[in-house]
Symmetry: C2
Subunit: 684 residues, 2 copies
Amino acid sequence: MPLPAEIRAVSGRLAVTKNFSVAVTGHTDARLSAAIARALRHCEERTGLTFGRTADGLFARADDPARASLVVACAGPAADLPQLGEDESYTLDISAERAVLRAPMLLGALRGLETLGQLLQGDADGWFLPAVAIRDRPRFPWRGLLIDVCRHWQPIEVIKRNLDAMALVKLNVLHLHLTEDQGFRVESKKFPRLHELGSDGNYFTQDEIREIVAYAAERGIRVVPEFDIPGHAASWVVGHPELASAPGPYVLVRTWGVFDSTLDPTNEAVYTFLDTFLGEMVSLFPDPYLHIGGDENNGAQWSANPRIQAFIHEHGLHDNHGLQAYFNRRLQEILARHGRKLVGWDEILHPDLPKTAIIQSWRGAQGLADATRAGHTVLLSNGYYIDLSEPTSKHYLNDPLPVDTPLAPEEQARVLGGEATMWSEWVSPETIDSRIWPRTAAIAERLWSPRDVTDVDDMYRRLGYVSRRLAEAGSRHEANREPMLRRYAGDRATEESLAALRELVALVEPVKGYQRGREQPETTQFTPLTGLADCATPDSQPSREFAKQVETVVFGDAEAASLAPWFAEWGRLAGRVRSAAAACGPREGELMALADQLSEASQAAGEALAMLASQTETADLAWREAMFACLDRAGTPRAAVELPLVAPVRLLVAAAIEKTRRGTMPPDAWRAHLPAIAFPKKPE
Amino acid sequence: MPLPAEIRAVSGRLAVTKNFSVAVTGHTDARLSAAIARALRHCEERTGLTFGRTADGLFARADDPARASLVVACAGPAADLPQLGEDESYTLDISAERAVLRAPMLLGALRGLETLGQLLQGDADGWFLPAVAIRDRPRFPWRGLLIDVCRHWQPIEVIKRNLDAMALVKLNVLHLHLTEDQGFRVESKKFPRLHELGSDGNYFTQDEIREIVAYAAERGIRVVPEFDIPGHAASWVVGHPELASAPGPYVLVRTWGVFDSTLDPTNEAVYTFLDTFLGEMVSLFPDPYLHIGGDENNGAQWSANPRIQAFIHEHGLHDNHGLQAYFNRRLQEILARHGRKLVGWDEILHPDLPKTAIIQSWRGAQGLADATRAGHTVLLSNGYYIDLSEPTSKHYLNDPLPVDTPLAPEEQARVLGGEATMWSEWVSPETIDSRIWPRTAAIAERLWSPRDVTDVDDMYRRLGYVSRRLAEAGSRHEANREPMLRRYAGDRATEESLAALRELVALVEPVKGYQRGREQPETTQFTPLTGLADCATPDSQPSREFAKQVETVVFGDAEAASLAPWFAEWGRLAGRVRSAAAACGPREGELMALADQLSEASQAAGEALAMLASQTETADLAWREAMFACLDRAGTPRAAVELPLVAPVRLLVAAAIEKTRRGTMPPDAWRAHLPAIAFPKKPE
């Protein structure tokens, strides 16, 4: 994962033993050697084999390519730093004799080594690589992950292990969201008050930035920094209130949302400041692209400031949006002087914006289309908001250029790719990996693999595989789960209690979208993220499997009785959770509530099943109302988690209510009708 | 843990809510504030509560101590860096109204905050601190952990998380073993060939050393560096062969043992070099103590070098040991000039060694006694070799000054404490935490708590508790377990397979002492430590519980039948492991062998039980031989792990063999007799 562009299985297998050897023909350099060493080391760690070494401790190279197990044939080097649009293609041919990895340029070799690592497997006969012929290249040249290090600080070790994980799934852009109302996360030697007063001491030093950029480049990943202005700027003006559009003093924001602090575009000193600051930053971030944010400027400070409104009037800028366009144009000029191209969010789109600016669309397909048609190159992030705890399948099927795209071919050519966005309101360094991985691997596949690779079941199957590889590469999304659960459960929890909680946590998901802020309104930047919602992960696997089974019952011809073991199990689990709850001290209340919800879902499902099976009874209004009331209770979020199995139970209840109509409707009508019954629109 | 010197439970409890507040009276400084912030943050993470903050993001302080939940009353500061023998005492009085932590000096406050953190608990009524009155102080002033970063490199994040864990159990010395045949792990700007050619690129930069020293000091922990000379010196002479006692060239050693490379004490240039080098190092390591190793010099290069032998003769040094004493005396002079006191291993003991040198005893009680009587202050490490996978109880009961110590009071006063030693032949950054923790907490208790705190069962009970606290403090001994098992099991393992392997791993232990090197003789520094022995941890809890139960049967009056469920379970587990093995690919062979051993142990135990129960049958020679042969097979190490449950089964077999004698012997004789039957001395 991501699935290669072309893959053909061939019969045979290449044994991997301690004598496995590598030869490099054609171009070679330190980056390639390091990538080969990483690949071999991972292989050693998985297999327990020890490959040959030189006295210097390096992996020994085969002198004769004809006798090597793996030949890496790289035709040419790459730029010192990875560049947008560089050739990442490669071919990989594995036979019983050897594996041959060919790439026109270095980056392709790096991508091919990751593919090789994912092919390694073992059986009773030993470790091997299956024979295969792969021709691979990416669909989009910009495949990114945004990490917001501002709302919750994420130190360099988080960034590095996520870069390793990104490399594994062939992502090639790390977008660092470095400034926000809640924190200014990069050291400025020119304006030290920015990080000194704007970060609580949590920022990347310039040495760390250089380390991140080098670490990423080593893995063929670009680093694009974002300095979000003119809004989202509280952390700038804590130390520099003179830049703001209203008098200070300012303090850092500790909660989530859209706030007023905004730079003043009418103040020439702001541009002088930004020129100096950005000049300093471009010396740290060598990539030609620089993101200036530009989103969610609420305009409150501008509207309230007569001087700013007068400026708008004098310069014929019409309104606040016109003023922001003016600001962006000035910024664009500054960046151009520093040899950088501007990237920004949807909101920067304006007729006056130079066409060289890239638009990153977070607001939807319309934004993407508008920007593309206006002549901009674009990135898609709408639909890739992995912070919202939505199912992986939804992200997976979100195509920047779907089959039915309304864009003309030349407009389509301006779609560079997309980025998953890890906004950090609800993640700590302990939980962030479990929000990014393995789900972002599905987005990586969407952006790398051919458009017609859309089999959701197959994606989930491979996601389980790649999840283990990601864990081995250093991601802590699996490792942190059990310690978090133990801390949550507390010291009095027995092994039985823990087993019950483990199963419960596998059945719940954090609430979706922006619901968590509504469920836990008192949360601040300091609230520990160690509750049930933090232990749980999006995309409950057993719930997904149950939902599939319900579908085959209500829309297919599976026996309704096949569902009964599920509900019975929930009923038993509810009892075990109740027993566990008493040992979990202050967590007792929320656990008891969830156990009750599980019981109610189990009971509703059982009654629906009985109703479905009954030859005589039909669902009267009282039954129907009782069922939906029961499911409403079962579906109410508790402790910011919810039971995704309630939705398929609703469908089952609807099927029971409508059972007499089933035979009377064509399958498509039935498929449309049943959800309408299960999820009736609430009266306005 | 460690248990305080005096602890008295009082009735009542102090509720911990989001309004929990802290006041500091008396002395305060940045270190104390940071320690209080760490304690409060851990409390937040465990409870999910969010305590009050200032606009600057700091924990809010209570203005009025009379209304604070916790009052920290520190009478005076501490030295800028922790010093040997500083006052670490404190008192902690918790009532229903408030907790009051009093300490004469800063270090005591740091220790008391750790105690406070261990008292936090929750029940259905909420989170609380139990009312208690504690008067606490350490028994020994030097309570250390040695980490060998040479055999396997351990980067700074390993050191930092272990410093956090050390602080939790009140250890106060980190002994960094920085040079070895296998690696030179510190940057020298004076002699860069040392780390450049001697480390494969894996060394602490000088900035990192400063960071480690500061991080440790912040937690009241001293850092004592060790530069192991004149032996164990291959990594020195790779870059500087002119210092060696035989001509080079040299390469780094990649295996384990005692090797020849030794500095040349007859070469004045060696002292000039060491003077410059150590002069550089003392600027990095401010502690007044510096460890020069001095162990395991095999003398081979000296004996083979006529010039060196002539030097010994000319200077009346008698032999190689005399030459090493001469070397140490010269070193001592150099160190004294740099304001440092010398520490070394047993072998440096010699009549010519100045009494100011501290001896660290790794070879046994006799070494400790000899050095003490010779007038040296001493540290005990013999018995604290946590790398040898021995039971925690053994380390726990290993007292530097046992009740029956042969030392006179003034000699006893020269025993400063001890150090657990984490030699790193068999640990990687992934596994090291599971070798250090939680076991080292028991050693920490031995060195802090009163001598009469020796209840092993109670220690194990509390060890489980402190293990969770250590995990929360950042140790990865629990977190890494499951990912390692999953990687070992491979991709074809089902959840059922994993469950069986998990139980198997809980029943086995890595082989003990220096056995692993014999079991896996081809191991080098590059061998991945990802096998079964690395997944397993010392001190199998179910095996220990079984052994206790056997004891109560054969030496007490428990029903023999109470053991039957254990064996039955092993038999079932053996079957499950066999099923799992087939899914574990190349691991199948070793898993099948272990399943067979488990079956054999189960069968032998079952037969012993039947024999014990039989009124008529007695164990004849054939039965006896068959049983012991079966147990020999079951007890044979596989994949460098062994089944500790075999030993109690042997005891059970012995009880069956000797059952007719049981009533005829006094209990003490029976206790001595049975192990002699179970573990007969093999003929020489």
